[in-house]
């Protein structure tokens, strides 16, 4: 047997060996730190027996896949602890994630005290240091095994696998779990652990299923690393816009008004007004024309735009759809069709294009109330929306202009390094969800790819994330918890101009279909405010501060002078207040 290691060195052995034994042969230290291995580029368990010629890389906690195996083993330890303290709890799934691991249980929720007790039991299990033992069973036998253990979720998982599957398990002492691995050799390899929180999660992520109890935890090889992570979590909690934004009185929510309908309080409204004025002025400098169009329209408009077909469940519909005599309206989920009618008010020639329309636009989207969150998941929001009507020859330049504007906005807010770019494509296996044919999609996507490459933008590609009328560039940012959201989008639309019969007269006097670019400058203002709160921990750059200067007289005697100073500041457009408390300043 011949093994080529990552550093290029070659090891030869007389007979087949487990990877862990090869690791031991290389060095005891490596074997101690090994979490998993990469065999010919594939992540495998340390128990894997190797024979023949292979490339081998031993993975430790410092490798992503090694870290995942380490934390996944910790999730098994958690499950074992839960089964010891709550024998009635049913096991669902327990993967590793970027920040640690979780495990879902069918059992009542855990409070902090219960989590602490579980953590203690986990430490005990780790100290017991049982070896993890790998074994397999044919599918039928595996189903029986889990039925006998009264683990209905495991039974369901096994039943999802093909008839002829061989099902693998890992056992440590009194605990066995259905699992594909890989895992550490023994629980004693785990060093620093912490259970972070407990929350609800639906079985298989489907709200029609039972709500389970999810426990989040994390694990490190060093206490110092765990402490640093926990400190980071504390910092995150302080920045969380949904907490800090309320404490700073930037926004509030009120039950009687509704979920996802935040009130922007005076300070929050001021910040958003400052941003809106800035964006509107900047768009004007860049040749945008401002429109102000209705917040609702008759159903007929959405039938033409196809929103009625593709997006109806996301809209607030007013009036009884089933009454043939009733006028049915819907609150708008986007501004596109309204601005198309602005365009259509007069015949345009190629000399009128590009037409750049901008609107500070309030939109409504009817999302599930369970999804509502602070300023980022809302049912009503205001967005720097706009549509560019362009000739085919103008696409590159105009698309470039949109990207440039978005980059300018991000840079001005200090957010340019916190975003990633994503080309969102259609899902070719789900064609009925989209307008247009495969050729149009492929061509447009290729065109966007070329533009982005030309702009030197690093981007990823994602299938199934496009709008129903065309592919888009999504500028993505993560919130403090690492959850990704789309902040800005720029979309290339080849479909809707035809649906709305928009045209222009070209140089030869012929009617031609324009392309439409849907875009935002900085996205939706509520979400941007949330992002800024988290970015600056509430300490906004001066130009965005709702209170830029506070004047403090050292005693009542100087109140008049303080007022004079404040007046001079206000006169110069500076947002100033006075603080005339009579106590002395030290």
């Amino acid at each position: 047997m011949k093994i080529t290691l990552k550093d290029g060195s070659v090891k030869e052995y007389a007979e087949a060996m487990r990877i862990i034994d090869i690791a031991k042969d290389i060095s005891e230290g490596l074997a101690r730190n090994a979490c998993a291995a990469e065999l010919d580029g594939k992540v495998v368990d340390l128990r894997t027996v190797v024979d023949g010629e292979h490339a081998l890389n031993i993975l430790t906690f410092n490798d992503e896949a090694g870290k995942a195996a380490y934390r996944h083993t910790t999730s098994h330890v958690l499950a074992q602890a839960v089964k010891r303290l709550y024998p009635e709890a049913k096991l669902a799934i327990g993967p590793s994630i970027d920040t640690g691991f979780y495990y879902d249980f069918d059992c009542p929720p855990f409070d902090r005290e219960a989590l602490d007790a579980l953590e203690k039991e986990m430490k005990k299990i780790i100290k017991e240091g049982e070896e993890l033992e790998y074994f397999t069973m044919p599918r039928e036998e595996a189903i029986k095994f889990m039925e006998e253990k009264e683990e209905p979720y495991k039974v369901e998982l096994i039943k999802d696998l093909p008839e002829d599957s061989v099902i693998s398990f890992y056992r440590q002492g009194d605990f066995t779990d259905l699992c594909a691995g890989p895992h550490l050799m023994s629980t004693k390899g785990i060093k620093a652990i912490k259970l972070i929180s407990s929350s609800g999660a639906y079985w298989r992520g489907n709200e029609k299923n039972k709500m389970l109890t999810r426990v989040y935890g994390t694990a490190y090889t060093k206490n110092a690393d765990l402490d640093a992570y926990l400190e980071h979590l504390e910092d995150i909690k302080k920045r969380d816009h949904n907490k800090l934004g309320r404490e700073m009185e930037l926004f509030a929510t009120v039950d009687v008004i509704g979920q996802g309908l935040p009130l922007l309080m005076p300070k929050g409204a001021k910040i958003i007004q400052t941003m809106q004025r800035w964006i509107e002025d900047e768009e004007e400098k860049r040749g945008y024309m401002r429109t102000k169009t209705p917040l609702m329209a008759k159903k007929d408009l959405y039938v033409i735009s196809d929103h009625w077909n593709h997006y109806k469940e996301g809209m607030f519909v007013l009036g009884d759809e089933n009454d043939p005599n009733a006028e049915v309206f819907a609150l708008r989920p986007m501004t596109c069709p309204f601005q198309y009618y602005v365009y259509k008010q007069s015949q345009k020639s190629y000399r009128d294009l590009p037409c750049r329309y901008g609107e500070t636009s309030t939109l409504f989207r009817n999302e599930d109330s369970g999804e509502m969150h602070g300023l980022t998941r809302v049912r009503q929001f205001t967005i720097s929306e706009g549509h560019l009507v362009v000739t085919p020859e103008q696409i590159e330049e105009e698309f470039y202009g949109c990207v440039d504007l978005a980059k300018y906005c991000l840079t001005t807010l200090g957010l340019q390094d916190d975003v990633t770019y994503r080309l969102s494509k259609w899902d070719p296996n789900n064609k009925e969800k989209y307008l247009g044919d495969a050729e149009q999609w492929d061509k447009t996507q290729q065109r966007m790819r070329e533009i982005l490459t030309h702009l030197g933008i690093d981007f990823t590609e994602e299938e199934g994330e496009a709008a129903f009328y065309g592919p888009k560039l999504d500028i993505q940012a993560k919130n403090v918890y690492g959850k990704e959201d789309t902040m800005i989008t720029i979309q290339l639309d080849f479909a809707l101009a035809e649906r709305f019969d928009m045209f222009y007269i070209d140089a030869n006097g012929e009617k031609k279909r324009p392309f439409i670019i849907h875009r935002t400058s900085i996205g939706c203002y509520e979400r941007t405010l949330a992002w800024l709160i988290e970015k600056y921990a509430g300490q906004f750059p001066t130009w965005l501060c709702p209170e830029q200067v506070r004047v403090l007289p050292i005693s009542e005697k100087y109140n008049d002078y303080a007022q004079k100073v404040k007046a001079a500041l206000s006169e110069n457009g500076i947002l100033a207040t006075t603080d005339e408390r009579s106590e002395k300043i030290g």
């Binding site: 750059p541 001066t542 007289p553 457009g573 500076i574």
Partner: protein, 52 residues
Amino acid sequence: MLVVGQKEEEEGKVSVRSRYLGDEGMKDLNEFIDAICREIRTKEIRKIEVTE
């Protein structure tokens, strides 16, 4: 934050305490206004250099 007392009033000045630099000492009011207007106009993102 601008702190004002007797000395500031007599001389038409303000004592500046900013979250960026901490105690910046006494400044002429007009100079302060010019500086902060520039900071706002250019949308400057200043570094916080003191920890209070």
